[in-house]
Amino acid sequence: MEREMVVKLADNIISPLGVTTEENYRAVKAGRSALRLHEGVPGIPIPFFASLIDENILTVEGDYTKFERMCIQSVSAALANCDIDASSDRVLFIVSTTKANVSLLAGGRYPAVSDLPSAVLPGVVASRIASYFSNHRTPLVVSNACISGVCAQIEALRALEHGLCDYAVVVGADVQSAFIVTGFQALKAVSAEACRPFDRDRKGLNLGEAAATVIYGRTDTADNRWQMMCGAVRNDANHISGPSRTGEGSYLALRSVLQHITPDEIAFISAHGTATLYNDEMESIAVNRAGLANIPVGSLKGSYGHTMGAAGVLETLLSMSAVDDHTVLGTRGFENLGVSRPISVSSENRTTDRHAFIKLISGFGGCNAAAAFKKGGDR
C-alpha cells in the first residue's frame, strides 16, 4: 500500500558532550559522561551531581535567556542541514520543555502577577524562538513532564499525517536551576553520585542540560532515512509523582506501539532508566508484560543525567545514531541487574543488525509514552 511516511530530515544535539549529534554519539559510544559534582552553586546549598552546559559554548547573540539560546542554536544547526524555509507557515514549531524560563522567578523580583515578564510564559518563549527564524505560526509547547520530548514528536507525526503542516521542527530543552535541583532534592529523588540505571545499587537520578532538535517531513519513499512509525501515550491512573507498581501506562503504551512493529525488528528499547528505585523497577515490569524481555534495554542517563524536556528527543536521536552504527549503546553506571523482572541490560556496547527501536519514557502526572522508529523500508 502506498502511503506517505514521516521521516527525519535533520537533527542536532547540544550538550556538554558536544554541539552536534555526531559529536554526542561518539562521546557516548566511547563511554564519556559530563556528570560531575557541583558545589557552592548559589541557591543550592546541597552539592549535587549534574551534567551542565557551559554558557561559553552558546553562540547566539541578542537578548535571550540561556534556555532560549540553547533552543535557537540547536534549531539553527538542524536547519543548516536541510533545505526548508523555516519562515513558511507550513512549518510548525513544537517546543518540548518542563520549566522553560522558570529561573526568572528567582529572588522574589515579581511580587505581583501583573509585574511578571512575559518570558515566564512558555508559549510566549516558543513564539520568541520561532520568531528568530521568522516563523509566525502559533507554536505548540508540549509540557507533559519527563515524557514531553516523545509527546512532542508524536504531535509532529500527527500534524504531518493530518496535513496540518509540511515540516515540523521539534526542539526539546531544559535548563537546570535552583528551582529544579532543590525540588528533586526535596523529593529525595537525586543520587549524591553518578547515577546507576537498572543497577542493584542505584540511589536516584542526576539532572542534566541539553537541547535537541529533530525536523520531520513527509515523503513517498523512506530511502535510507529514519521513519517515525507510531507513538502512544497512556496514563497509569495511579499516582501523580510515583510510577505504577504494575507498569500499567508504560505497558499499555508499548502494547499499542507493538500493533505497528514486531519484536523481531527491534534492535533495542531506549528506556527512561532514570536510576530511581521505582522508575527502573516499573520499566522492567512493563517490558516483561509487553513480552519484550529478550530485547536489549538501555538508558542514557549515566551519560547525560535526566535532561527533562530534552530527554525524549535527545535519546531518540542517539538511538538512531546507534542503529546507524549497528550498535546497542552500553548503559553507563550499570553493573549488576537490580530490578525484579529479567531484562537485558549491559554496561558494554553490543552489536545489532536490526533497523528499528522503541523509545520508552514515563513521568510525573502518571504519564507514559512509547514510540517506534525504523530506518528505511516500508511503513
Partner: protein, 214 residues
C-alpha cells in the same frame, strides 16, 4: 448533535492576568450554576456543594483545584459511570501560564534558605500535566494524557490538537479544554467533552470553542 457533548465555563469579570480582584460565573451546559461568586471561596464552595468525597482536593495547587472542580462538574453532567472508559478516554488540556501559580508558591519556599526550606508537596505540582494526572487518577482514565501550552487561547490550535489526538485508535473521547491559572484567585476554565465524531470537523470545533470561550 454538537461536537461538544458537555462543557463547563468558569470565567471572571476581569482578565485573569490583570492583577485586579474579580468575581466569577460558572456555567454548565449553558445553565448558569453560580454567578458573581468571590474568587477566594468559589472553588471550595463548589467542592462542598457538588463533590465532597475527595479530600485530596484540599492538597492540590490552584491550577489543579480549578481544573479538578471543572472536571467533576463536567463528568457529573455527563452522568455516565466514570470507570467504564479505561484506555478509551484521554485528558488533553491547554493553557498559557503552565504551572505558574504553583511555581511562584514553590519559588517562595526557596528564596530565603535561612527561613524556609524547599517544599516537596509544592514542588510536585510545578508541572501543568499533573492536573491531567489528577483527573486520570480520580476517574481511572488510562488513555492519553497531555498538556499543551500556547501563547494565548487559540481555538484553531486547540481544535487541531484535539482532532489529531484521535489518531490514536483506542481513544473514544477526551476531557479537554482550557485551564489557565495565575494564582489562587485568578483562573479561567473552559473544559469540554469531545468524542471521536469530531474527526473531520476541525473548523466547526474551533468555532464552538471560540464561541464558548467568549
Amino acid at each position: 448533535m454538537s461536537l461538544i457533548k458537555h462543557y463547563v465555563r468558569i470565567s471572571g469579570q476581569q482578565p485573569i492576568d490583570s492583577g485586579h480582584p474579580t468575581t466569577y460565573n460558572v456555567c454548565l451546559d449553558g445553565q448558569m450554576l453560580v454567578s458573581n461568586a468571590p474568587a477566594d471561596t468559589l472553588l471550595a464552595d463548589l467542592y462542598k456543594g457538588h463533590i465532597g468525597d475527595y479530600p485530596k482536593f484540599y492538597k492540590m495547587d490552584p491550577l489543579c483545584k480549578a481544573g479538578f472542580i471543572a472536571s467533576e462538574l463536567l463528568l457529573n453532567a455527563e452522568g455516565r459511570r466514570r470507570e467504564q472508559w479505561g484506555e478509551s478516554r484521554g485528558v488533553v488540556l491547554f493553557n498559557a501560564a503552565s504551572s505558574l501559580a504553583d511555581d511562584r508558591n514553590y519559588q517562595a519556599t526557596i528564596d530565603d534558605p535561612e527561613t524556609s526550606f524547599p517544599s516537596p508537596s509544592l514542588f510536585v505540582y510545578t508541572l501543568p500535566n499533573v492536573l491531567t494526572g489528577e483527573i486520570a487518577i480520580r476517574n481511572h482514565f488510562y488513555g492519553e494524557t497531555n498538556f499543551i501550552v500556547l501563547p494565548t487561547l487559540d481555538s484553531e490550535a486547540m481544535a487541531s490538537a484535539i482532532e489529531m489526538t484521535f489518531s490514536d485508535g483506542s481513544l473514544q473521547s477526551l476531557v479537554t479544554g482550557w485551564v489557565d491559572c495565575y494564582s489562587e484567585s485568578q483562573y479561567d476554565v473552559l473544559m469540554l467533552i469531545v468524542e471521536r465524531d469530531a474527526i473531520g470537523h476541525r473548523d466547526e470545533l474551533s468555532d464552538e470553542i471560540k464561541r464558548l470561550a467568549n
